[in-house]
């Protein structure tokens, strides 16, 4: 891997962290309404997962989607603007936090109904299979989604139809406030894929390089016609489920233990220890990222609200 690639991974992870921190502030200032689910602690998951994708590969995910959007190539400006519901946001303010998307970047969105996007992912993959194009659909979902019927239907038919889809369970240990072992009969979630004869593996989601390697391997296997694969990525969210989460379901000690293994801090140490980049270079990069996010917030705050007539646009697709 080239030095530039390492620094690009670091750039993405830190940019997501800074964006989410600023989003939390904007939320507390009352500038972001509704619900806000932060990706802090999970940055290595989508960063490593999406890094090896080709432009043909689709990404579709659940509601914790700001970071994934950034990894797919959406700019900090259009992400923050969407969080503020502005006309310049990636969904022009109609989507908000949980419904970002950009087809041109092959990012098929955040989806707010848990598990409901898994059949959609199977349909997108069916499109690639039918068209004989080399794309793979990367479908991310949380541990909670593995208990809903869609998960089982979609895994089953992905195997029956040999679909080019990578199922990715982002296991952050809690479905909202309910621990995995209190909600799922099988705590070792990837074993559920065994029930559908789908080859599976697990990887440490706090290690961006390990995630990238696991993802690259599975994408290659799927692209070679091997059918669906299942990757469980173990991770931890440092913040609450959403901004309004009192977090009574877990102890502060547990959060601190994971924070000691901060995926960004660990990767930073690695970059220096392995001689890939100097402390000075990294600080310089961090300044660039700081400015990128500051600019994005300024851009978003100064952007116009959607025009009133936009309420009635795009109810139907008029021309095709």
């Amino acid at each position: 891997m080239e030095k530039k690639e390492y620094l690009d991974l670091y750039h993405q992870m830190v940019a997501i962290r800074r964006m989410e921190e600023r989003a939390a502030e904007l939320y507390q200032q009352g500038k972001i309404g509704g619900f806000l689910h932060l990706y802090i602690g999970q940055e290595a998951v989508s960063t490593g997962l999406i890094a090896p994708r080709t432009p043909d590969d689709r990404v579709i995910t659940a509601y914790r989607d700001h970071g994934v959007a950034y990894n797919c190539g959406l700019s900090a400006r259009e992400i923050i603007a969407e969080l503020l519901g502005k006309a310049t946001g990636c969904s022009k303010g109609k989507g908000g936090s949980m419904h970002m998307a950009d087809v041109k970047k092959n990012y098929w969105g955040g989806h707010a109904i848990v598990g409901a996007h898994l059949p959609l992912a199977a349909g997108l993959a069916l499109g690639d299979l039918y068209s004989k194009t080399p794309g793979v659909t990367i479908c991310m979902f949380g541990d909670g989604a593995t208990n809903i019927g869609y998960f089982h239907e979609a895994l089953n038919l992905s195997k029956v139809w040999n679909l080019p889809v990578l199922w990715v369970c982002e296991n952050n240990q809690y479905g909202m406030g309910t621990a995995v072992d209190r909600a799922s009969a099988v705590s070792d979630i990837r074993k559920k894929a065994d029930g559908y004869a789908i080859l599976n593996d697990e990887v440490d989601g706090m290690d961006v390089l390990a995630v990238k390697e696991a993802s690259a391997k599975m994408l290659e296997e799927i692209r070679a016609g091997g059918g669906p694969r299942f990757l469980e990525i173990n991770t931890y969210r440092f913040r609450g489920h959403s901004m309004g989460d009192p977090e009574r379901y877990r102890k502060a000690d547990e959060v601190h233990r994971y924070q000691e293994n901060d995926p960004i801090g660990m990767f930073r140490k690695y970059l220096i220890a392995a001689g890939i980049a100097s402390e000075e270079e990294i600080v310089k990069l961090e300044d660039v990222i700081e400015e990128e996010v500051r600019d994005a917030v300024e851009f978003a705050e100064n952007s116009p609200e959607p025009a009133p007539e936009e309420l009635y646009t795009n109810v139907y697709f008029e021309t095709y």
Binding site: H99, V103, L118, L120, V315, F317, T319
Partner: protein, 327 residues
């Protein structure tokens, strides 16, 4: 012109659309090798292969969900729900996903998908093979809802539905599959989604209906014509978006309106038509708007006499017409 049945018209539409556009495919339970529970797709598996006439697992949410995903991809799925009664597991996919994709993406995404579902009672199917569910979907902008009542419309509307860039729910009156016959031209034609159809001109009152009940309404209109009641009949055909103009024009002409549907009365689609008339043609009315609909019970019961009590028929419709004509 050849006279064919409703089910043949539906099959012809799918056959021609499969031949016309290689992005069109059919997915559903037993649609392939078996040819569908009502034989709507018979022969298509042999002609187009298993890649385009796809037997799915028994999983309605995924039949629709996969259809949405494939439609987003750029394909043109025809999803078959074996009976409308089985559509409920897919409800979330239809309401939350299909209907909202274009809106949430500001037109970046479109879902050119048809969901075909046989609906209605009168075939002894009992509670879970007889329901009329159109009103669950006519409340949802982003969807289009179509119910044909003749082979001509069934073929022309289905072809339009396949070509429409939006999700279309296409409810087929299954009692009429083989009962309703009609002339269908040999060559290519479509019937646009949207406009209602005045199928019988008259001057005394208007009956609005669709699907199987429209077929019965025409029979009832002929029966009362012998008694000197001149009925105008409007086949709504597309329930959503609804053709207000044709509805108001007809009521302005006749001054009386009867709405007939098989689905139960309360919260049924007829309420919307009544509201459109009240808002747009109040001063033209010579009588209160009347609705004739299925009874407010949870489902069509199994026993034959009970099913008959539930179901509307030409005699019941004729009686409602007489009452309104006398007002």
């Amino acid at each position: 012109m050849a006279e064919i049945t409703m089910i043949e018209a539906i099959r012809q539409a799918m056959d021609e659309e499969l031949a016309r556009d290689e992005n069109v495919f059919i997915v559903g339970e037993d649609v392939g090798q078996r040819g569908g529970v009502f034989r709507a797709t018979v022969g298509l598996f042999d002609k187009y292969g298993g890649e385009r006439v796809i037997d799915s697992p028994l999983a309605e949410a995924s039949i629709v969900g996969v259809g949405i995903g494939a439609a987003l991809y750029g394909m043109r799925p025809i999803c078959e729900i074996q009976f409308a009664d089985f559509i409920h597991p897919a409800f979330n996919q239809i309401i939350n996903e299909a209907a909202k994709m274009c809106y949430r993406s500001n037109g970046d995404w479109t879902v050119p998908m048809v969901i075909r579902a046989p609906y209605g009672g009168g075939i002894g199917g009992g509670l879970y093979h007889s329901q009329s569910l159109e009103a669950l979907f006519t409340h949802t902008p982003g969807l289009k809802v179509v119910v044909p009542s003749s082979p001509y419309d069934a073929k022309g509307l289905l072809k339009s539905a396949v070509r429409d860039p939006n999700p279309v729910l296409y409810f087929e009156p299954k009692k009429g599959y083989r009962l309703i016959k009609g002339e269908v031209p040999e060559g290519e034609y479509t019937v646009p989604i949207g406009p209602a159809n005045v199928t019988r001109a008259g001057s005394d009152l208007t009956v609005f209906s669709y699907g199987m009940m429209h077929y019965y309404t025409l029979q009832a209109a002929e029966a009362v014509a012998k008694e000197g009641i001149d009925v105008e009949v409007v086949d709504l055909r597309t329930l959503y978006p609804v053709d207000r103009e044709t509805i108001l024009k007809s009521v302005s002409k006749t001054g009386k309106a009867l709405i007939v549907h098989e689905d139960n009365l309360t919260g049924g689609y007829g309420g919307e038509i009544a509201a459109i008339i009240a808002e747009g043609a109040f001063s033209d009315l010579d009588a209160p708007v009347r609705r004739l609909a299925g009874p407010d019970v949870p489902a069509v019961p199994f026993s034959h006499p009970m099913q008959d009590w539930f179901m509307l028929n030409p005699a019941k419709i004729a009686e409602a017409i007489r009452q309104l004509a006398r007002y």
